[in-house]
Amino acid sequence: MMHQPIAKHRPPLRKRLADASEPYLYSAPALVLIVAVMLVPLVLGISYAFRDIQLLNPFSGGFIGLDHFRALGQDQAFFGALRNTLWWTGASVLLQFTFGLILALLLDKPFYGRGLVQALVFLPWAVPSFLAGLNWAWLFNPVIGPLPHWLYALGLLDAPHNILSDPNLAMWGPIVANVWWGIPFFAITLLAALQAIPRDLYEAAAIDGAGPVQRFLSITLPFLAPTIAITVLLRTVWISNFADLIVVMTNGGPADRTQIVASYIFTQAFKRLDFGYASAIALVLLVLLLVYSMLIVLLRQTMLNKG
């Protein structure tokens, strides 16, 4: 037998090029669109954060370095908005998730008319967000909506007034609207994940003597965990950027008690027309969300490695 040094086999250049470029060809159209319509404007938008851009001031536009960020450090309204964002995002995600999970579990059981019920409870998702906001603002208005009267009757309010104008309660208005609007998203994705769990697992666990709670903890939750992680991550990011309901229902008031960072940015940009400052705030929000996402991804990674 002849022994030749084994040269690593190289296919012809054309084939190698074709093979290597295939995934890029598939993703190119989407990428081109995202880069052109989102990334480039995003970079431009970030550059505004370091410039003085005021729409009504023709002499603005100059490069001012970190001035906006220095101002931001002194801006009490911003820190208030940051606290409100935490509150708004945390409560919305938690409630949407909890009720979405319960709804998914309820719908996972077969019963007569399930298809119809499923269609009905998912309907809020199809309602345009600002219409949802308007509608909920109506419902909270004691003159034209029933909610304050019901809350009063239940003893939750000491008078049937509009909670949207009560500084201590106002945030609950948009949160309730957001929960109503967002439950279907969680329910749909969690229901899909639930239905993908092999049924015989439950049967095996039942035979092993696990009760319903144990079955939920030892089978359902671990199976749902990846879905939960990714949906909670995405929803958190979305909701903290989601100002529609707040702008429509309270416009940040009363006394800035419902002002979140996203609505504050909106106010800065479109009411005060200070795009530079608004961009600086947006950049800070972006960094915070990035840090948060990385924490979640890391957490998930360590969980996966342990499991």
């Binding site: 990428l31 404007p41 809020p124 509608n135 419902l139 239905q195 879905t227």
Partner: protein, 277 residues
């Protein structure tokens, strides 16, 4: 034991009823306001159903406002966006699902990061970029912008559907004589139909609701979409709530119809892939 089971079933149905009521009550209120005559709007504001109902708001909205134009524009924009996004996301989702390549993680990171930036901040740069191209004040411009916004999530969604389809099938097709692209088109895509329906639905409803860019990129009624049109009720008719809610009810119809049509596939489709992440 038996009565315990009955109790559980009862609790289950009751809980479902609570959810249905919670989901539908605000929509019911929308409908109620839209059929309440103007003179009763405030005097019977908190009654569950007005003592007199009227369809004049609907008549006005359909016959005497620009609403039909808004409606048509919205239908075109949302439909086109849904189709464009679903096509692009199918391709890119397939790439993420089936290939390992160097830039994969960068692409995922890019798509995630674009979700984190407040869209408000993109308004000015996008306006500056589109206006020399003549794409402001045009439905095409809106479709392009909405497509870009929705492609990342739709890509992740489609990827999870593709992940649920065994790779064997493409390999069998490739051995049968197909190129990878033919296998994708003829074997894999037909199997992701529920997933495609789900993606279409998500994107359609998202585009249907979008207000900010519709407001900023469009001036004038000709290319305005329905959410913008709803706002015009505020200024033009000194907040005619009845008409506004009637328009709102009308605007809900296509979104709801579409949603009802695809919701069956939604869960079924997501089940096939399950959003495993």
């Amino acid at each position: 034991m038996r009565s315990g089971k009955l109790l559980l079933t009862g609790a289950h149905r009751l809980a479902i009823l609570v959810y249905v009521v919670f989901a539908l009550f605000p929509l019911f209120w929308l409908l109620k306001v839209s059929v309440t005559p103007n003179d009763l709007l405030y005097s019977e504001g908190v009654r569950m159903w007005p003592s007199r109902t009227t369809f004049e708001h609907f008549q006005f909205v359909i016959a005497h406002s620009a609403f039909p134009t808004f409606f048509k524009n919205s239908l075109i924009v949302s439909g086109a966006t849904a189709v464009v996004v679903t096509i692009l996301a199918s391709l890119s989702g397939y790439a993420l699902s089936r290939f390992t390549f160097r830039a994969k993680y960068w692409i995922v990171a890019l798509m995630l990061i674009t979700q984190m930036f407040p869209l408000v901040m993109l308004v000015a740069p996008i306006f500056k970029m589109l206006s020399p191209l003549g794409l402001t004040n045009s439905l095409t411009g809106l479709v392009i912008v909405y497509s870009a916004f929705n492609v990342p999530f739709a890509t992740f969604l489609m990827q999870s559907f593709f992940d649920g389809i065994p790779k064997d099938l493409e390999e069998a097709a490739m051995i049968d004589g197909a190129t990878q692209f033919v296998a994708f088109r003829q074997i894999i895509l037909p199997l992701t139909l529920p997933g495609i329906a789900a993606t279409l639905g998500f994107v359609f409803t998202a585009a249907w609701s979008e207000l900010l860019f519709a407001l900023m990129l469009i001036s004038g009624n000709d290319a305005a979409t329905f959410p913008v049109g709803l706002l015009t009720f505020v200024s033009k008719f000194s907040v005619d709530f009845g008409q506004m809610m009637a328009a709102g009810v009308l605007a809900l119809i296509p979104a709801c119809l579409f949603f009802l049509l695809i919701q069956r596939y939604l869960v079924q489709g997501l089940t096939a892939g399950a959003v495993k992440g």
